[in-house]
Amino acid sequence: MLNYVIKRLIYMIPTLIGMSIIAFTIIQLPPGDYLTSMLASMADSGANIDPGQIQRYREIYGLDAPMYEQYWKWISGILLRGDFGYSFEWNRPVGDLIWERMGSTLGISIASLLFVWAVSLPIGIYSAMRRHSVGDYAFTFLGFIGLAVPNFIMALVLMYFSYKYFGQSVGGLFSPEYAEAPWSWGKFVDLMAHLWIPIVVIGTNGTAALIRILRANLTDELNKPYVITAKAKGLPEYRAVVKYPVRIALNPFVSAIGWVLPELISGVTITAIVLNLPTAGPLLLRALISQDMYLAGSFILLMGVLTLVGMLVSDILLALLDPRIRFN
């Protein structure tokens, strides 16, 4: 097992190098660079720009150097000094920008992930055991609605309702009057009043898929002879189902963790923009639009690392959960 983990970690190194190169290249692919988009938006707002300035700007930003040189500057900074470079648009180190958004990002993502699991596990089990019942259809119907309605529409509708009927300040995590206040019970309540919208919006999207997967897997297991034997021997239905078939049906949950980790950062971008949440997604989108390459590149690299780590974690968990899986 330990050997396996070490081997996997070593394999990660070339993968990461490849990923960093691809990430950097993709960001450079669209025509123009950060300056092009900056000058475009300046010209758009009416500022006069002298074409002669552009070359001078390029030199100062170091954008006139060839691509491999820019890449080396970026990657050597990360490897040697842990320095992710400087964001052109924000004029601040990329590391600071990303870290200060990590708290709220992880908080919201994990809360909604737990919401998804808390809702879909019991429903999935119920639906599998009472297939084609009224309850099964009702939950399936709700789940599909959640899946089918685009997140941002649902976010806008919920925000409108919370404005219309609760008279609440919309967007963000706090009302203006609490934003600068120190932590208190009132501030916590205010946070909860804001937090339910993103959790529900992000959550509903994930529940339908998980309910269906769990329902399908569990249905397969429930008809297997060992379950019938267990029931025949007088095991209560609850124990007969939860002890073995549910464990096996959980495999897809666990193997999906590899994708969940990067999703935590980038998955809810549109929702976060609509809901005005101070998370990392909108920052990434903005960086991509303005071609702020060090910020965007570092984000993509970070997501690559998280995917790799997530895959490893889910492989290990899978082995723990299902003793039949062996490493070789």
Binding site: N48, G52, R56
Partner: protein, 643 residues
Amino acid sequence: MGSISRRAFIVASSAFAGALAMPTWARAQGTQESAFLKSEVDAGNLPPVAERLPANPLVITPFERAGQQGGDWNHALVGGGSLSMLVRYQGYEPLVRFNPDWSGLVDNVAESWSVNPEATEYTFTLRKGHKWSDGVPFTTADVQFWYDAYFTDAEATLGGNAWWSVNGEVAKLEVVDEQTFKVIFPAPNGFFVQQLAWAQQDQMTRTPKHYLEQFHIRYNPDADALAKEQGLESWIALFQREIGMLDDNTFYQNGNRPTLNAWVFTDGAPGENTERAIATRNPYYFKVDDQGTQLPYFDRVVYQMVADPEVLLLKTLQGEIDIMDQYICTPANKPVLFDGQETGNYGFYTLKETAANVMAFQLNLNHLDPVKNKLFNTMEFRQAMSHAVDRQALIDAVFVGQGSPAQPSMREGDPLYNEQLAKQFTEFDPAKANELLDALIPNKDGEGYRQDEEGRRVSIIFEIDQTRTTFLDMFELAIPMFQAIGIDAQMRTMDRSLWEERVRRGREYDATAHQFGANSGIAAMLDARFYVPINNNCFYAPGWALYYTQPDNEAAVEPPEAVKAQQELYRSLVGTADPAKQNELMAQVLQNAADLFFTFGVSLPADGYGVVKNDVVNLLDTMPNSFGWPTPGPARPEQFFKA
């Protein structure tokens, strides 16, 4: 309150004693101290208000009535790090500024200014005792520093500031004394002060020497070491970040640099906090109202950072935003904002649109293909294209009927209005268009499209930046109109950065469409993009425009005589300082523009609107909407307050 404290008595009587010798603003003022700053003053951290103001502060007469200091201006900014809006609200403090109705100039940071009759020598006088937001005096030394350490410093300069040069030669700065300096041009430069008044173009009031000199190698030999400490490669990078002339984001993200503005970011610059940015009053601000109260009235400006305009719309409906005319004030949002007036407790004001047209069709008159080049340069061809467009249909469908057919031109009612320029070839007349084209390119192919001299189908691809949604809507309707006269018009939408690359910096496009430009007085003289090809906003003639500034450049195209004459006329306009003469020359430029007929448009833009809370006082009911007149900056946000 029967008794009067000893302190108050002394204050009151000494104020009375001084009254006879003092100017009116000071007489009325007494010793009123801002409640917001009182604790600082009492603790001895700040001098009292009388010592903070310049000897001759700028006295502002509020639009409606004088108010009182205090309160927050609740505001919002949409979209990541985009801070170019801040100049509108708290960054418009040039030496000389545009007046509130954009008909002329008024003194601002400069106490007075003058120009000699030849328009070669400008003299500015600063205010004695004027101080930066940290209390250090603002003098001509700061202006000199900008000129020496930044503008003319080969390593530090970013170029730009084109209004400082005439015929490629940079003006000289001559400092007379602590308050007076001269700018001397080698040849006439008539619009120097107007250019300085244009938003974000006056850099002389933005470079505190005492703060910035530590980052410049000539003033501090250790500047390189300082830069290395901050993780930057050289002093140049650090100096650029600190001086912030690269772009608006860099400028406002530095909260440490002292400023002359009404509000200062003290508690973290915008961008550091992802949810809000707060600017507080500048204790040394140089303006007072006619009652002697130091401005600004608002103690703080609180910007909520909003990622999406729809969220801002909801916040505005809820009454969380005091004044807003950007982002959300579109024709489509008007009904919902109108319905929400009562609950949100706000009303509306009018924005006069200043753009020359909602969209100008621009054929590339410097096309590299000789056949297309010849065709596009034929006046009758452009006339036919213009007659083919049913402008009223476009206006009805895209602008809910708001507007009336017009070419890119001056607004009706402006003294410089030229009817020919505005209205020629605007009537929808496909028969006339076909007649004109039959004389030029009569041959048609099997599908009914016309063929050019070489037998190729006449196709025109309009390359459009896809973020301009109104353009896309208009083109959906306009393309069948062009096809109806046998022109194979097509629209190609693309990402903005590709568009910038292909059109703004490219040559190989058939045609494009764009907007902006200006439709009135001073603005049109400064931004004459549709009337004469002079800069890289003139997409109809990129080669001619380059010829105007760099005739020796390889990519420049020598224009025909009529266009060259128009450029020379504009050059002489720019060299004229006398307003009457300026108007006369501009009228001529416009008449020539009408005869040359470079571009054709759809409609003058209809008036826009803004939303203002009912308790906000002193905001004008009608304002221009512009970047150069950074709405509402010239209407003096410092005298806004809440009743």
